[in-house]
Subunit: 355 residues, 2 copies
DNA sequence: TCGTCCCGTGACAACGTTGTCAGGACGATT
DNA sequence: AATCGTCCTGACAACGTTGTCACGGGACGA
């Protein structure tokens, strides 16, 4: 088949196995004995090519392992799409971002579109640099779970018509589509749930105070506590927890003496995991109530199973995909703000009563 | 700032807020009163532009929200890189693929490279189509956790010099770099561990028989059983389990009568989870031993904590990244096969003795 | 004063593709 | 037989960028 006798110099280098430039339409045209334009017609399945010529061109193309260059094609075409969208998420390896990416990918694939994925790790500079990179690659759309708190830097892109959907966090300083969860509501419900089960001394574990969702969750908790008339003395708020380990350490600290919380609300899933670890090692898993924000795999298999506020990732992702591709398809209606209501998933850990 | 008086017709459409074509170097050149080439020089930070001109060009560029078009640039450049690699994984939302993606992303970012990620879900057609798409996008490299069992279809790309690294599964029919785990060894160790704890009647839960890793894991188990002289009657092999639910159902089946296994080896992490669910609901969690292949978050928090064969994802990802970018940088040494030894992580569930 | 060199700048072609248009062959129509 | 229309094909320019080369002018040495 691909014997060493191949003589179409461009692809198979005669002796060395070194890579050689890819065949272009010109090469195919030469081999098939037709013009460039005819090859283009065949490749794009345009009408008006005789079967015989089409056959000859296809044969030549496959003989040369011709692969269409979409970048050159897009450059020339009028209303070109690159068939690529960007997704800048918090961290593609955490289960929330990963599930979101997956749902988005499924929507994108249905539109013949590939997804460039990257993690921001709450680093503002990274976000700016990555957006620049995506724009330079002329992505058709952008999904952004921002690390920044102000988004004016996106104004020119939005003006230029870059379809952009914010997810999990709202845009500030620019107007764009967004799909977020009602964090205030979700955490208020969680704390109300704890209060209803008799808790007064409730500890809150929260992420960086600069992150909008963390702020909202804190606000929801405070609203519920205010409504329940819980005095400041009974409130424990630990902010700026970035990792599971940090949460674990914080929770250990609670039980080293003094009046200790009978319930814990963890404002992010890995903080809940840290809390569970701490309680487990202190032998308190069945004595201190825990509710986490954001469900995760296996939360139901813990002992006790973890009660959580669940954000429906599938719904979020689908909503993001719908919005994004509607914009890409030309929808120019005013930006939409989709807010999804989280639900409390009762599993056991949140229903433990204070001792 | 961006008042409606803006008069540089190309970007800001006068009345409608409709998106308008992006500014090109030509526009910048016109506004700055210089030639195209000079703009190119400034944009690419080439030497030999007087500070005054440079300043003028930069000002014009920012006024027009100019964004460099890397596709046009790459088209023209000699040894162009697109600064994009593709990662075709089993499912970006499962923790193994997601972690791998993340590690790869980190390596890629260090090389100014973006990652196109997609999930194959064991669908062969999808793999072929996605590879074609990535090649058409002229990715600089490809990471592949293949769904197919034969890879001849990649031969022409490899010949054309597309850097490709197989991960988790070996290439068949072509020669390429790979990073895999010694599945035979890992599962043999797991079963040996169970045998050492007194088990004879051991059930195996396995993925599709067409998947290489599943085959290898089965082989490892059988080797250990053969060595231990376990009779066929004591062996229970359930193959073609695709989901956690399927595994759960299978395990439930074991305990509906007849001689039931005293230990379970689950050949994939979600199969282990299914097994744990089943045992939990049957009240057997502390009576039947379980070992899973592939670690996952929270395995240590289960009750009992899950003993697993761990594949070091960080190491795998780093290895993949190293190989890939070495190839991209021009390394043409013969393909390498990196095999990583998995380790048994003892946590409790695998040390339960038969009753 | 002249020639040389260097520096900053621009004209032009080219990357791989597609849109536009024109032309040739051929059968059908008058 | 001349005319027309249809069908197939190709020449050429253009997309946005960069590599090559050439040009004009000022500094410098002879």
């Amino acid at each position: 088949m691909s014997g060493p006798s191949g003589a179409h110099g461009r692809i198979q280098s005669p002796d060395s196995g070194r890579p050689v430039a890819r065949a272009t339409m010109k090469d195919v045209a030469a081999l098939a004995g037709v013009s460039l334009k005819t090859v283009s017609r065949v490749v794009n399945r345009e009408a008006g090519v005789s079967p015989a010529v089409r056959e000859r061109v296809e044969h030549a193309a496959s003989r040369l392992d011709y692969s269409h260059n979409v970048h050159a094609s897009n450059l020339r075409r009028a209303n070109s799409r690159t068939g690529t969208v960007g997704a800048l998420l918090q961290d593609v390896s955490n289960s929330f971002s990963a599930s979101l990416l997956r749902t988005l990918e499924d929507v994108a694939r249905a539109q013949q579109t590939a997804v460039l994925a990257a993690s921001l790790d709450e680093e503002e500079g990274r976000e700016i640099a990555l957006v620049r990179g995506l724009v330079a690659r002329r992505v058709d759309g952008l999904v952004l779970m921002p690390a920044t708190s102000r988004h004016e830097y996106l104004a020119s892109e939005l003006r230029a018509g870059l379809p952009t959907v914010f997810v999990d966090r709202l845009p500030h300083g620019v107007d764009a589509d967004s799909v977020t969860v009602d964090n205030v509501l979700g955490s208020r419900h969680a704390v109300e749930h704890l209060v209803r089960h008799g808790h007064r001394r409730i500890a809150l574990l929260l992420d960086l105070g600069t992150i909008q969702t963390a702020q909202d969750r804190l606000r929801g908790c405070r609203e519920a506590m205010d409504a329940a008339g819980i005095p400041d003395d009974d409130r424990v708020e630990v902010q700026n927890l970035r990792t599971s380990d940090a949460a674990e350490a914080a929770v250990r600290g609670f039980y080293r003496g003094g009046p200790s919380p009978t319930a814990i609300f963890a404002g992010r899933n890995d903080l809940a995991i840290g809390a569970v670890r701490a309680l487990r090692s202190l032998g308190l898993s069945h004595r201190v109530a825990v509710i986490g924000f954001d469900d995760f795999p296996l939360a139901d298999l813990l002992e006790p199973a973890l009660t959580v506020v669940r954000q429906n990732v599938g719904q979020i992702g689908a909503e993001v995909g719908r919005l994004l591709f509607a914009r890409i398809a030309g929808d120019t209606s005013p930006p939409r703000r989709v807010v999804i209501e989280p639900t409390l998933v009762v599993r056991g850990s949140g229903e433990i009563r204070p001792t």
